[in-house]
């Protein structure tokens, strides 16, 4: 049983979808060049950048996992959000990496890497970024559909059809308007998403009450529910791994960096980071509170991932339910559109670069960008929606994310600040950061070595990946002989 009312809530959701589609399609006439399509002609200002970054980095999948963190770890589950906010504020204030990156005028990270490491490393980095990003994104649709089905009380048989229709709608305006459509719809989606998140949180705080939330965490998890260092499932290794992971994400996650690259200048890019930083605390704490409220109301449940939507389906009244579902659709659509566009930008700009011996015309460039987005959409449907994923989702996300983040963050930092860094170091770093997480996953799956993987744990494995990836860069770069006056990749 759910409080979703088809007439009232359905109208709110329908109106939101209509306005978003119209806005997304209206700006397509401004797209005349590839630069307009991929980085909005570098005309984005601070507040549009804040709306776009916040909307992109909050999808239904984020809401589900952060709520699950709240349900399983209490308030301590919001620790990654605090770490990410600190990392983003630090990077924004100092301009670390993002300043030289934006100053260089490139459209993607691998394009900058080519200047230091050569064309082969640019291509390899592009492949790593796209593989990591697309495999990561592959699970978004199904998780988003699960939330909507549970909250709205829909028949689970319609999940695939509903999410296919949603993806087709998003793909249409992204294909036609590129980054311009993404920015304008992100803005609308930020406002709708934020209104839903704030209203539902206030409702929960009023109905469940702060005292009950705190006492539930205290009873269920003791001090570990408030302090990650004393939580038996977290500890210092969890905090350190998440600090590394979130710092790397702030520096290199292509959808985040795309906002810096689309900003009208470097200072605007830095301001977007500094002023959006605290949003990442909200991003973890607000759904975390929803998860704690689910624990306080429902008690123990079989599937902790579904606890929060199950709780919301009866706790949120009709009317507000429409706002909540529109908010979550907004969160998902903004994430999907930005992700499709940014992975497309790397495929076009970096992976296809060797095939563009002569510069392509703007018309041909736009045609290929649009085709790539359509192909990404088909991949997402086949891989993420119609093909059921087996195994543990969190491990899957962690592995695909670390393969990308560890190597690309090391390459980018070295490229910006270490003149001695060269292609040997870059190649070694990419291999090491792919080998360790994959080896860990294999050891974990093989029965005879599963205990060994358990004793190491995913956090130590993750920390080792970042440290050894950095070491590989230093050792590889030092070993390669370098003639005076030659570029590092020659």
């Amino acid at each position: 049983m759910t409080n979703f009312n088809w007439l009232l809530d359905g109208s709110i959701v329908g109106l939101y979808l209509l306005v978003t589609m119209v806005a997304g399609l209206m700006v397509r006439k401004y797209v005349g060049k590839v630069e307009h399509f991929l980085v909005a002609g570098r005309e984005m200002d601070v507040y549009l950048g804040i709306a776009s970054l916040a909307a992109t980095e909050f999808g239904i999948v984020t809401c589900m996992y952060t709520a699950q963190n709240g349900y399983e770890k209490g308030f301590a589950g919001a620790t990654p959000g605090i770490l990410m906010a600190l990392a983003m504020a630090g990077v924004g204030l100092t301009g670390f990496v993002i300043k030289p990156l934006r100053d260089s005028g490139v459209m993607t990270i691998p394009e900058l890497l080519e200047k230091q490491f050569g064309q082969r490393i640019r291509w390899a980095a592009g492949v790593v970024i796209v593989l990591g990003g697309l495999l990561n994104m592959g699970v978004f649709l199904r998780t988003g559909g699960q939330f909507l089905v549970l909250v709205a009380g829909l028949d689970v048989r319609y999940l695939e059809i509903m999410m296919t229709a949603l993806l087709v709608g998003v793909a249409v305006y992204t294909i036609l308007g590129g980054m311009l459509s993404v920015l304008v719809t992100d803005f609308l989606q930020f406002v709708v998403m934020s209104a839903g998140l704030i209203l539902v949180t206030i409702l929960i705080l009023m109905n469940v009450g702060w005292e009950k939330l705190v006492s539930t965490v205290d009873t269920s998890y003791g001090a570990g529910g408030f302090n990650p260092f004393v939580n038996p499932t977290m500890g210092w290794q969890y905090v350190l791994f998440n600090l590394m992971l979130n710092t790397a994400a702030v520096l290199t996650w292509q959808t985040t960096i795309a906002r810096v690259l689309a900003a009208k200048d470097t200072n605007t890019g830095r301001k977007i980071y500094t002023r959006t930083a605290f949003f990442f605390v909200c991003r973890f704490l607000i759904p975390g509170i929803w998860g704690i409220a689910a624990l306080a109301t429902l008690g123990p449940v079989a599937n902790t991932l579904e606890a929060m939507p199950q709780y919301l389906s009866t706790a949120v009244p009709a009317g507000l339910m429409g706002v909540l579902i529109a908010a979550m659709l907004a969160a998902d659509m903004s994430t999907d559109s930005s992700y499709m566009l940014t992975w497309c930008s790397v495929i076009y700009n970096d992976i296809l670069a060797p095939f563009r011996k002569r510069p392509w015309s703007e018309r041909k460039g736009l045609f290929w960008n649009r085709t790539i987005i359509a192909l990404i959409g088909i991949f997402l449907l086949v891989y993420g929606l119609w093909y059921p994923l087996k195994g543990d989702l969190w491990t899957y996300l962690g592995v695909t994310g670390t393969i990308y983040l560890a190597s690309i963050s090391v390459l980018l930092i070295a490229c910006c600040y270490w003149r001695r860094a060269n292609s040997w170091g870059a190649g070694a770093s990419i291999i090491v950061s792919a080998a360790i997480p994959i080896a860990y996953l294999v050891i974990e799956q093989v029965p005879s070595t599963a205990e060994l993987a358990k004793s190491i744990g995913p956090y130590y494995s993750g920390i080792a990946t970042y440290l050894l990836s950095g070491a590989a860069m230093v050792i590889g770069s030092t070993l390669k002989p370098r003639a005076e006056g030659r570029p590092a990749h020659a």
Binding site: V27, Y30, G32, H36, A40, G41, E43, M44, D45, V46, Y47, L48, I50, A51, F75, A78, L180, L183, V184, F187, F190, V191, S194, A195, L197, I198, T201, I202, L205, W210, V214, S215, D218, A223, F226, R275, F278, F279, V281, C282, L285, I286, I289
Partner: protein, 51 residues
């Protein structure tokens, strides 16, 4: 039950900051979109004149 002031203060800060920034960004962001489209329009007209 220990006094968990840190999480209480952080929750209040989140609700107040997020509400404020949403209204602020809603107003200023709309202006940013208008200016961005105006600049792109002038670039489009310039390009059309050249060709």
């Amino acid at each position: 039950m220990p006094n968990h002031w840190f999480w209480g203060a952080l929750t209040i800060a989140c609700v107040i900051w997020y509400s404020t920034i949403t209204i602020y960004v809603a107003i200023k962001g709309a202006r940013d979109i208008k200016n961005m489209l105006a600049r792109l329009d002038s670039v489009r007209e310039r390009d059309a004149e050249k060709s």
